[in-house]
């Protein structure tokens, strides 16, 4: 069965410094992996997705993630944080066994200090 573990429930960075949100997955199949972002009182927005093409995936707002099969990781990074990046981020794997419903990590809340 597929599962996702987000290693940090809360990450705090200063504006202009790099962001690293960690995610490990477990999957019996070649997974489809996603990062979604949820701003306060807003819906979930897709940041980026990996579906077995390039292992380095670029998303919106300067975010990117690298799929590392040997480490079963899909960490999200951004070179320079902006105040507007403050939100909750979810690492997600698509459950092939259930025809595609998403399995969400617990979420990582990103705080950005001025």
């Amino acid at each position: 069965a597929q599962s996702v573990t987000q290693l940090d429930s809360h990450v705090s960075v200063s504006e202009g410094t790099p962001v690293l949100l960690r995610c490990n997955y477990s999957s019996s199949y070649s997974p489809s992996l996603f990062w979604y972002v949820q701003h306060p009182n807003k819906g979930l927005q897709l940041l980026l997705k990996y579906t077995s093409a390039a292992t380095l995936v670029k998303g919106i707002n300067g975010f990117e993630a690298e799929f590392k099969k040997s480490e079963t990781s899909f960490h999200l990074t951004k070179p320079s944080a902006h105040m507007s990046d403050a939100a909750e981020y979810f690492c997600v794997v698509s459950d092939w066994g259930s025809q595609g419903n998403l399995i969400f990590g617990k979420g990582t809340k990103l705080s950005v200090k001025p």
């Binding site: 489809s32 927005q45 979810f90 459950d95 092939w96 025809q99 595609g100 419903n101 998403l102 969400f104």
Partner: protein
């Protein structure tokens, strides 16, 4: 273009009452999903509709929960005899195609915030 819409945006009800939550997927999307986001439980899958196939109900937490999708478009999630633990944000998502088609990216609505008193 129009995204996924959900109504109502907020719903307050009394324990024991029934509630209906509505989802309008993106036009042309064949797949529709319901999820629940609650404190301490994270985001969990409830039910999945794909075209005219029988829905995948494997995530529904009890028989008080049901959903239907009429005409392959609008979906209604019904919770009967609501309990306080049903309080959560109910999210709907749709995708153009199903898993493995390259069109499986799910787009989420803003959610319905349900509070059961």
């Amino acid at each position: 273009g129009a995204g996924v819409s959900q109504s109502p945006s907020n719903k307050v009800t009394e324990k024991g009452k029934d509630v209906e939550l509505r989802c309008d997927p993106i036009s042309g999307h064949t797949a529709l999903y319901w999820y629940r986001q609650s404190l301490g439980q994270g985001l969990e899958f409830l039910i999945y509709f794909q075209g005219n196939s029988a829905p995948d109900k494997s995530g529904l937490p009890s028989d008080r929960f049901s959903a239907e999708r009429t005409g392959g478009s609008v979906s209604t999630l019904t919770i009967q005899r609501t309990q306080q633990e049903d309080s959560a944000v109910y999210l709907c998502a749709s995708s153009l195609g199903k898993q493995g088609t390259g069109q499986e990216t799910q787009y989420f609505g803003p959610g319905t915030r349900l509070l059961v008193l």
